[in-house]
Symmetry: C2
């Protein structure tokens, strides 16, 4: 068991070096890189589709998709005319920085304003793997229950923004929105919490405003 | 990377030894052990609550809960008067056989007819860790989307039963039930697929019938 922990520490240290190279690369191109993390089925890809439609024509975007299997998610993004590369992890439960670098080198991803990295559906393992991103976003759908922040505290502490998704389903599920917001704030007092529905469009404006603001700030800092 | 894979192989081999001891232990006591695996928030604990109510008085049960943090789920089970032990994994993304053995030795879990092991919410990592169970059950809520079996094929191939949960929400979500059933069958032609709602009670009878049938078969085989 101790050996597993040591090897994991080595893997994380190696990842950190590659993440640092990615961070410099994103600084050089002025690209805002966003690492999206959630459970399977919380609606990350559907949120991305709504986001890409809302940003179309004003902010150039690309997407790196991480999944255990299938090109489905990259195909959905490409159908919108947005460049996308699918990383297939086989059995692995998270993306690492080397995979992202390889996707940028070989996956035909152009330099863009905002690069979305949709991580493998998993609330635990992707949390500790830095991908050189500007910030992490955790997506939690209202159908998953309002107890999830306290059950998966690491990602809710580290994500600079939390998007409560599938808000259109709120009338149909037992989900205490005020309680979940308080739980996220107690783990992460300075983070942004957004309530959104990709289907109804609720909250998409606030979310894209956040992205535009962060992109502008990065560009100003880079001057 | 090669080193990580080798160490993981060692960890899995060590786990297999402990799983074999658990399997003998469950055979000795005639206990049916069921390993429940799903994404966070698919409704495993709520399904268990409905199951324990339905089996009350006829089948003795106990529950081992696995979570990264909080005793919440074990507390919910204990509130029904059912023995429960919470394993807190810290950051770990799955239960292993040694943790389950320790829970049985030290967690005050009596010998029962059916032992439910609710794994950490994660569709990937728990798949490869044998807990000495009689069978794995994968729970997929209708809000997670009908593409999940092909995106997470390992667990849908290995689980002897798939429970499609939160069926009460079917009128409100885009989810093709026939398509998801076909996808699961293509991965696992002999598995059982059940459609259930812990809130409405739909499908709970079929699910508890499956448990009773498997328990009776195990007891007959043990004679």
């Amino acid at each position: 068991m101790k050996q597993v922990v040591t090897v994991k520490r080595h893997a994380l240290a190696a990842n950190e070096e590659h993440a640092e190279l990615l961070r410099r690369r994103f600084a050089g191109s002025g690209t805002l890189a966003v690492n999206l993390i959630s459970s399977p089925g919380s609606g990350k890809t559907t949120l991305l589709e709504a986001t890409l439609r809302a940003l179309r024509g004003t902010v150039s975007c690309a997407v790196i998709e991480g999944d255990v299997a299938t090109e489905n998610d990259a195909d959905r993004i490409r159908a919108l005319g947005v460049p996308a590369h699918q990383i297939l992890t086989g059995g692995s439960c998270h993306l690492d920085a080397r995979q992202v670098a390889r996707a940028l080198d070989e996956g035909g991803i152009p330099e863009v304003d905002v690069l979305f990295i949709e991580n493998v559906g998993n609330l635990i393992c992707p949390t500790t793997y830095d991908l050189g991103e500007d910030f992490k976003v955790v997506v939690l759908s209202v159908t998953e229950g309002d107890d999830k922040p306290v059950k998966y505290p690491a990602i809710f502490s580290r994500a600079e923004a939390a998007v409560i998704s599938k808000a259109d389903l709120l009338p149909h599920v037992p989900f205490d929105l005020a309680a979940v917001q308080a739980r996220i704030r107690s783990l992460n007092p300075t983070g942004t919490i957004l309530v959104a529905s990709a289907l109804s469009g609720e909250g998409i404006g606030g979310w894209t405003d956040l992205l535009r603001t962060r992109l502008a700030a990065k560009r100003r800092a880079g001057v």
